[in-house]
């Protein structure tokens, strides 16, 4: 089974249309090309769909990078 980071990487590649994209826990909106506010909305929708989770409003504000996303998804999945 692929881990959350690999899974996220597939989503990022599709949404940003860059099949060579490599992300890590430190990747953020400044370091990844094309990760603008509209792409962000799209990423969140795709992540919710793919991981069968639903983010609350407060949770989204604290996401600074991919690592935060992974931790949040893990917390959600354990519940």
């Amino acid at each position: 089974m692929i881990d959350i980071l690999e899974h996220l990487q597939l989503i990022f590649r599709d949404v940003l249309d860059d099949q060579g994209l490599i992300i890590n826990r430190e990747s953020n909106a400044r370091s990844v090309e094309g990760w603008d506010s509209l792409a962000h909305i799209n990423l969140i929708a795709s992540i919710e769909q793919e991981f069968h989770v639903r983010f609350a409003l407060g949770e989204l504000q604290d996401l600074k990078n991919v690592g935060d996303m992974i931790d949040l998804i893990e917390r959600k999945q354990q519940r």
């Binding site: 599709d14 949404v15 940003l16 249309d17 909305i41 799209n42 929708a45 795709s46 409003l57 989204l60």
Partner: protein, 595 residues
């Protein structure tokens, strides 16, 4: 056609793969370019991203202008410079229920409720007025979806002061006012939201976070419906439904079981479902959609199915009937040729997934919705696809089936005459050729957008542009209707000429292919020359611009006796002139003028 963009589509998939899909669609060629201004009361980007995909899939390439967030009113009325500079072909007032401001109080009197209604409507009417006077282009106005919450439950609808009731009232009144002005097309967002389901439609979290009122699925439904409306405005909706027979129009295989044993009628649930689908098809036909049969069967046996006492459809309802054992991907182009329409005007319905697959693969221009195997769902899938959507109904649409029925008889007739002139004479043709009239502006616009073969310049016009030309004295703009002993062909030819001192520049000359080789172009020329001379014109200037489809008119002006004054090196463009002699003898002899 990219199948992934036909209903039923997967909104999450489309959003996730949007950039790739867009890139792939843009590899196509031959586009209608549309400059679309969006004055939005919410963040519209997600809807517009998806709208772009649906439009590209229909051959329409949009360029967007977006108002600043929630400044739709200000940009329509006061800060219009940026919008005017954009020169839109279409403006979409992209509002929804989140933009309703003046709800009545629950205890409001009838007068107060009326005032709230007027306040809301006045806002939109002033937007329409300002935009039509400044831009003169077509507007699309959303109506309002039902509110997501109902504070008093069903009473919210029962009481005139309830929000549900108020929004319904607003929608009815808006429809009434929009219908009075042909530059305004109402986009029925309320039905789109209902079809989606309000709980799948609205997402308060996304509204608070991004000012997007809808879920991704809701945005996709919104975008798809809007794309269907835009396609209809540009006359690009489909014209013909091609139907399989066994297990599509009736239950069972007629060749194996016999005409007496097919399932149709009200006796069984299965029979009722096929009857309901036939009724849906007949409704389409009655408002101008052509029906054709394409079946793997013995033709004589296949025809018997329509003589079944419970069959809703009769043979006379079918504009083309092909039943044989050839691949359907070969038969469908034959049907298109017989009806004189393009493959991109056709929708194919077959319960057999293998037949759908081969038609999709071989004929990508034909729309093949994924109807599944359950006929009870066929009407829904077809309906939701919006293939046959219109923004209005003209009498030509209603009469179209009569015209096509006449075509088949005409073909039969032409084989019994000694020469072509004799055939033309026997047709007893009568033409009405006159300046643009209000009643025909819609049909004229439609023709400018869908005529590809007999079209000298292939210039596309919006209805507002056509209306403007109709009232502008600098233009000589003619339409031609043609009827003959077999029926009325409707409005089939358009010429737009712009006066420039003693020269008339023919900016558009087109004719529907269903009247090709009938001398109609000569009749049009005669009237054009008559009108031009009355206006003091000495010279006609004709233009030909080559496209992938209009080679048949490359020598149009030469045939009419024009002299060539310019020819591009690659042959892609040519210019022609005809000096108007005082002793011009009318060229048409077979068509009698009736106006």
């Amino acid at each position: 056609m990219n199948q992934e963009l036909l209903y039923p589509f997967d909104a999450a998939y489309l959003l996730r793969h949007r950039k790739r899909l867009r890139r792939e669609l843009l590899e196509g060629s031959s586009w209608i370019d549309v400059r679309l201004a969006v004055l939005a009361g919410s963040t519209a980007q997600e809807v517009l991203d998806l709208l772009e995909l649906f439009l590209l899939n229909d051959g329409i390439r949009p360029v967007f202008y977006q108002s600043e967030y929630n400044r739709f009113y200000e940009e329509a009325l006061f800060d219009t410079a940026r919008l005017e500079e954009f020169r839109p072909d279409l403006v979409c007032i992209h509002t929804s229920t989140v933009n309703v401001r003046s709800y009545p109080r629950l205890t409001a009197s009838a007068d107060e409720i009326e005032r709230c209604l007027e306040t809301e409507l006045a806002r939109y009417e002033s937007i329409w007025k300002s935009l039509t006077s400044r831009l003169g282009c077509q507007l699309i106005q959303n109506n309002f979806e039902p509110p997501a919450t109902r504070g008093t439950g069903s009473f919210d609808c029962a009481s005139p002061a309830g929000r549900t009731h108020f929004v319904s009232q607003l929608n009815l009144e808006m429809a009434r006012r929009a219908l009075n002005d042909r530059r305004i097309v109402l986009h029925d967002l309320a039905s789109v939201a209902s079809i989606t389901g309000l709980d799948q439609w609205s997402d308060p979290g996304r509204w608070f976070s991004y000012k997007i009122p809808t879920t991704p699925a809701g945005s996709a439904m919104w975008a798809h419906s809007l794309a269907n409306t835009i396609r209809a405005i540009y006359g690009r909706s489909r014209k013909c439904l091609v139907l399989d027979l066994d297990n599509t129009l009736w239950g069972g295989a007629i060749g194996d079981e016999g005409a007496d044993h097919i399932r149709i009628g009200r006796e069984t649930a299965e029979g009722e479902a096929f009857t309901a689908f036939q009724e849906y098809c007949l409704d389409l036909r009655q408002r101008g959609i052509l029906l054709a049969v394409c079946s793997k069967n013995d033709e004589a046996i296949a025809r018997e199915g329509f003589a079944h006492p419970d069959s809703v459809l009769r043979l006379k309802d079918l504009s083309a009937f092909v039943a044989n054992w050839e691949p359907k991907s070969e038969n469908i182009p034959r049907i298109a040729a017989a009806l004189n329409i393009g493959l991109d005007s056709m929708v194919f319905v077959d319960d057999n997934p293998a037949e759908r697959a081969i038609v999709r693969a071989q004929l990508p221009a034909v729309a093949v919705p994924e109807v599944g195997v359950d006929v009870s769902r066929f009407p829904l899938v077809l309906d939701r696809g919006g293939y046959f959507d219109v923004v209005s109904l003209s009498s030509d649409d209603i009469n179209r089936n009569v015209q096509y029925a006449g075509n088949e008889e005409r073909t039969a007739l032409s084989s019994t005459y000694a020469n072509y002139g004799e055939y033309l004479a026997a047709l007893a043709m009568r033409a009405e050729i006159a300046s643009f009239r209000d009643a025909y502006l819609e049909r004229i616009t439609q023709l400018t957008n869908k005529t590809n073969q007999f079209n000298l310049t292939t210039r596309r016009y919006t209805m507002s542009e056509i209306a403007q030309i109709a009232s502008d004295p600098r233009y000589i703009a003619l339409y031609g209707r043609l009827e003959d002993r077999f029926g009325d062909n409707g409005l089939v030819s358009v010429i737009i000429g712009r006066k420039d001192e003693a020269v008339l520049h023919i900016e558009l000359w087109l004719m529907s292919c269903r009247v090709i080789r009938r001398n109609m172009e000569l009749a049009m020329l005669d009237v054009l020359i008559e009108r031009a001379r009355d206006a003091g014109i000495k010279t006609l200037a004709g233009y030909y611009s080559r496209t992938s489809k209009n080679n048949m008119v490359a020598d149009h002006y030469e045939k009419l006796g024009f002299e060539r004054t310019f020819l591009a090196e690659d042959g892609s463009r040519s210019e022609w002139r005809l000096d108007l002699a005082p002793d011009y003898v009318p060229r048409n002899i077979h068509i009698q003028r009736i106006a």
